[in-house]
Symmetry: C2
Subunit: 593 residues, 2 copies
Amino acid sequence: MENLNGLKRSDYCGNLRSSDIGREVVLMGWVQKSRNLGGLVFTDLRDIEGICQIVFDKDISQEAFDKAEKLGSEYVIAVKGKVRERQSKNPNMPTGDIEVFADELRILNKSETPPIYIKDDDDVSENLRLKYRYLDLRKPSMQKNLMLRHKVANIVRNYLSENRFLEIETPFLTKPTPEGARDYLVPSRVNPGKFYALPQSPQIFKQLFMVSGLDRYFQIVKCFRDEDLRADRQPEFTQIDCEMSFVDMDDVISIMEKMMQRIFKEALNVDIQLPIQRMPYKEAMERYGSDKPDLRFGFELNDISDIVKECGFKVFSDTVNNGGSVRGINIKGYEKEFTRKNISSLEEFVKTYGAKGLAWIKINEEGIVSPIAKFFDEDKMNQILQRLDGQKGDLILFVADKDEIVLDSLGHLRVEVAKRLNLLKKDDYKLVWITEFPLFEYDEEENRYVAKHHPFTSPMDEDIDKLETDPKNVRAKAYDLALNGFELGGGSIRIYNSDIQTRMFKALGFNEEQINEKFGFLIDAFKYGTPPHGGIAFGFDRIIMLLAGEDNIRQVIAFPKTQNASCPMTNAPSSADEKQLDELNIKTNCIEE
Amino acid sequence: MENLNGLKRSDYCGNLRSSDIGREVVLMGWVQKSRNLGGLVFTDLRDIEGICQIVFDKDISQEAFDKAEKLGSEYVIAVKGKVRERQSKNPNMPTGDIEVFADELRILNKSETPPIYIKDDDDVSENLRLKYRYLDLRKPSMQKNLMLRHKVANIVRNYLSENRFLEIETPFLTKPTPEGARDYLVPSRVNPGKFYALPQSPQIFKQLFMVSGLDRYFQIVKCFRDEDLRADRQPEFTQIDCEMSFVDMDDVISIMEKMMQRIFKEALNVDIQLPIQRMPYKEAMERYGSDKPDLRFGFELNDISDIVKECGFKVFSDTVNNGGSVRGINIKGYEKEFTRKNISSLEEFVKTYGAKGLAWIKINEEGIVSPIAKFFDEDKMNQILQRLDGQKGDLILFVADKDEIVLDSLGHLRVEVAKRLNLLKKDDYKLVWITEFPLFEYDEEENRYVAKHHPFTSPMDEDIDKLETDPKNVRAKAYDLALNGFELGGGSIRIYNSDIQTRMFKALGFNEEQINEKFGFLIDAFKYGTPPHGGIAFGFDRIIMLLAGEDNIRQVIAFPKTQNASCPMTNAPSSADEKQLDELNIKTNCIEE
């Protein structure tokens, strides 16, 4: 193996073009492939910018040619040579018009045969990809994702800095989050028996920054939640975290939607029209069965409870009379795409959301085709069809159940149907702010109301009087930004008035002692001149995933964890040795295997 | 208390100038002070940009005046009014030419009397400042530090992005660092009995990025070390971490010193001349007794061992003959500043570094004054004075001991003396690259050589043959950047040749099994085409501390930890409840108080 010995790279492989013809260049990179054709060696050399063809000719340098003949995949080489026009141009390659005619070759390093192919369409298991992530990250698609991530972080930082936000770092070794998800704990060696918690978000610190008069704060920061993982969750994830003083909801929304506009423009050259549409939570639930509705297609929910409250179909009428509802979605114009078998599989689908069944009406050439048609007289049927705009070519699907189940199952069903119909275009970006969230939700397990966002979220002014009398119907000054069925982020205006904060805590069922124990220093801080303030946090991984057109956040994270929160490459987490645990004053309950 | 109700801030308090006279403005902020003078209320209103004087006149608004009379310190208010010229201008305030004549006042929040004053010269204990950090951060000096930090982070990110570095996030929940300091551990709930470690640095990940062909990586990132804390150490600290492929030491130094130049220019408007001076480790130790020498002043070390090897002063000659050395520093021209008592206190000082005593020679009007003069004949004395350039007005100080103690104690002594003489100007920035570090240092405890930087640091080409025969004298392709006696950062060119890596591991005393256990996946990764690469990491907190002219990194960290790694504000770390520890499959050895 050879050394650089002062040799300097002059260009990236992927950047050479016709305009470079005649130039002497030095390239360094990895051998994508290399073959001897008609007495010449042709080598595809790859670096982060792309691939360039190198030609070795024994008439130019016998030494370079001899070495080139022995090149294997993923060898690391340096090449010196002249850029020249290619005889058989390759229009599929950005560098396809040129090649480098080499007069010097240094083999900087060899490579064993890689366990995975370095190409985007390699379809090995994700586990193998994660085990050899350093090779997986050689794939152009993965490098593109990481470059996009870097670019978007820069856009965000520039935009927020221009708008006078300060990026301020908050502690990672801190206190458990009151009223939050499960924390990761870190035993303290210096303080035996005590633990730090890794932050679930910098929520408390950013509010304290507002108390400090730091005016506008942001941070692109890792946060941690020890929850069981879903496809788009990671134990550690990255947040764009923001907080502003002397603002109301419109101020936060306005400055943040301009940021989203800039991200889309600069990262994807996509224009987002402002203002972004806003929709109250209740409307989103009623129309789309979701607080993060996918607005790329219709199939809206319609309530027919009033029509079927009295009808011959007892499944419907009983449901309504027992306090539930019956709602339907019209898969407009797609009647032909759904056979009975298809509809059965949709029924199986809604059952996973707790629905007991799926009723349906088709309107085709023969008229109305439906197993439940017989239960309705013509008038009722007409009312139902009118409510759902049922016309020839439509398929209407119904669920009857408790409200939550109806909304949730139909909300998911409309997306599932759209997916099957191939209506979900990745480059169609439909953003919507969801507002007027409920302040509380009832926790059956704890048998009390808990804060839907967190206990510092301000109620809407017009609902403050209901804090004691009708908590269920108190709406919050909270807002989420949704994109194509995903929540990009959410935030709220915070309570800064200590009377209202006390009433909020009481509504959550806390007595003074509990308040002090859970929120002590924050409550203290609020006594010394707290400005009106509010903020938002965006899920950075998810934003990048959607911008990159990926289905999985692991595609936009360099070294992600698997579903069981482990890393197949490093084998983290791993056993700790006795001595270290002793120093930390802890023992595990597990017997070492 | 009142609400914003749609009122929008038009300006920051501290930004108003004469050019704003006549404008209608809305300001929001904190009451710095407020007093009734001659029938008018004068209120100093503070926000992040500064302070502006507000005047309330009952003839303009009785209501505003009445409220203004009741304003207390740190009340949060909104004021509407007109900017007008001030009658008695205050040249000490940026806004001193104007005032705001208010016609509306809203009290947005009250404040209890703060436990610390919101002014820079408040001299309460640091512990109280940290307990009420949210108030401490209201001080202009602290806000200025955080703004500087934000600014420098932006400069670094912009510079590195322009130079094609990608910021890529690395995991926080990862594997213990082989051969590193003590790790913080995080118990895994999902993998009982296993632990993550928080990263001491992203070293391994950034080298893997180079294996991935990501070419140039950086990250401004939190790192963690569970070490006992010194004044400028924190359990969590921030690093500017960089790595580059296809480079040698000159490439890394060149790109990084341009970054430092830009930081100094853009943050402080200070010009740094490039190239920054370089000094081999050995020279730095011999001349300054330190591998991070403070070059703002002289007082260099001089070895007189050869002169005193044979002399009448047995303390000197015995030391040399037992393998130690005798060295001195000349406090040139400051003889008069040091009484015998002062010198005694310097002797106490060097004793803290293990020196047994401090010999001295003064040259004043009377000639040579020294308790040891009598032991030297004229010739020896002349040789000593010549070696140290001793002339009238000088004070020369000597330590005789083992080399390490002599260098260390005199290295610290020259700084101590300069400090007492007030020679350490904070705005004098003397940067120096220290190169040619030893690759190894001997670990008495482990009874083997350990890597001075880390086991992937490349030896210098000319020293490779000494790896087995003379490890002590193998120099590394390592480099540190020092500023005024502080190490700003350090890095190295890494080993990418697997033969040399194996020889390195052998020199460290590892057998194959240990190598696999400690470095398994990294060694694996290096088999698949590793490019020549190297990098550097800078201590971000320390850089900001020095740029801000602070003596303590806690002054540039929003929420730092104390010496016992705790936070007086949040009381982290704290006790964890039984249930949570059970879920994590751990127990503490401590009895709950």
